[in-house]
């Protein structure tokens, strides 16, 4: 085993890549001749080639699968292809019926409608936002108008300092006027 290891490790480094290509039947004619002439004189490289011959074909052997596997495989692919075709065709069939010009025209129309809505629809949207604010008030509060007033009075309490300030400023202005 150890002798074998040494022999493999000492295979001619400058030929190794060419030997791999030679094994696979690749390379130019001149390269092949050069490798073959080298193999006539170098036993280490011959052993290297023998090792490739013994190792690589065994790695590439494929599994023999039964015919029914391939029949099922084919049927599954055809089924998936049909599903794929149906999935594609329902929306592709729409395009020819409208014609090629309809898509950009439709896009332009959508942009115009959005622009008009943005320019002229601001008032409506603000009303709508007020409505949504009211919708956000819980039903148990809305159902009792007294509670609503109570919460209204809370708002008033919160704004008392502001009102007092306002009163103060009015008082001051009235005093100035009286003077």
């Amino acid at each position: 085993m150890s002798e074998r290891r040494i022999a493999l490790e000492n295979a001619c480094a400058e030929f190794e890549a060419d030997l791999v290509l030679h094994y696979y039947g690749e390379g130019q004619e001149a390269e092949r001749r050069r490798v073959e002439s080298h193999l006539e004189t170098c036993q280490r490289c011959v052993r290297f080639m023998d090792d490739l011959d013994g190792l690589l074909p065994r790695m590439s052997k494929t599994t023999e699968l039964p015919q029914n596997f391939w029949d099922n495989y084919y049927r599954e692919v055809v089924h998936k292809l049909n599903q794929e075709r149906e999935g594609i065709s329902w929306w592709r069939s729409l395009i020819p019926s409208f014609g090629g010009w309809t898509i950009p025209a439709f896009g332009t129309a959508v942009v115009v409608v959005l622009a008009v809505a943005l320019v002229f629809g601001k008032g409506d949207w603000s009303v709508r936002s007020n409505a949504t604010q009211q919708e956000n008030i819980p039903q148990e509060i809305l159902s009792d108008s007294g509670r609503l007033e109570f919460f209204g009075s809370l708002d008033l309490l919160e704004s008392l300092p502001t009102l007092e300030n306002m009163d103060g400023s009015r008082l001051e202005s009235s005093e100035v006027r009286s003077l």
Binding site: M1, R4, R5, L8, E9, E16, A17, V20, L21, Y24, E26, D51, L52, G54, L55, L56, R58, M59, S60, K61, T62, T63, E64, L65, P66, F69, W70, Y73, Y74, E76, V77, V78, K80, L81, N82, E84, R85, I88, S89
Partner: protein
């Protein structure tokens, strides 16, 4: 091919028949799992069907299709973040055990050694950079020429030769004691 590009599935089904075994085996080389290989290779056919109009005919269909299969497999292995390089005896889907490296002798110690060699080879392939593995699998397992591998991988033939040499060297090193 023109009929396929018009979306006619019955012509595409001919391509499925022709390439299903190759597609499946490429996926199996990458995943080492029959079910995953089936799903991935079938996905490749669906993707080929939906993208057939992108096929410009500059290269052969199989080169274009192999590229799809390889990319799907590489995406899958990246997503999975590991490759399920199960030992051969772990594949239990009713298919016969792969002959490959395990089928060398009926002696128990030889069988054990062959299985260990197989595990080592799988492990080496697992840890190999994607490009080296792809080049090796396409050449050694699928029998593609270096020129075709270069087209599939969208790289130069010289680069593929380097990938192939490195892959074979790594495998040889890992299997030194079993050769």
């Amino acid at each position: 091919m023109a009929f396929c590009q018009r979306g006619e599935t019955k012509y595409f089904e001919i391509l499925v028949r022709r390439y299903m075994e190759k597609a499946f085996h490429i996926a199996l080389n990458f995943t080492r799992n029959t079910e995953e290989a089936k799903d991935l290779s079938q996905d490749a056919f669906l993707r080929a069907f939906t993208r057939i109009k992108q096929f410009d005919g500059r290269s052969g269909f199989y080169t274009w299709f192999y590229r799809l299969v390889v990319n799907i497999c590489l995406d899958f292995t990246r997503r999975k973040n590991k490759i399920s390089w199960e030992p051969l005896d772990a594949i239990s889907d009713g298919a016969p055990e792969r002959p490959e490296l395990t089928d060398v002798s009926s002696l128990p110690e030889d069988v054990t050694m062959a299985r260990e060699a197989k595990r080592r080879a799988d492990r080496t392939l697992e840890t190999m950079p994607n490009k080296q593995r792809t080049a090796f699998l396409l050449r050694n397992h699928q029998g593609l020429s270096i020129a075709d591998i270069a087209k599939v991988m969208k790289t130069t033939e010289a680069t593929v030769r380097v990938y192939l040499h490195r892959a074979v060297s790594a495998l040889r090193q890992s299997l030194l004691e079993f050769v």
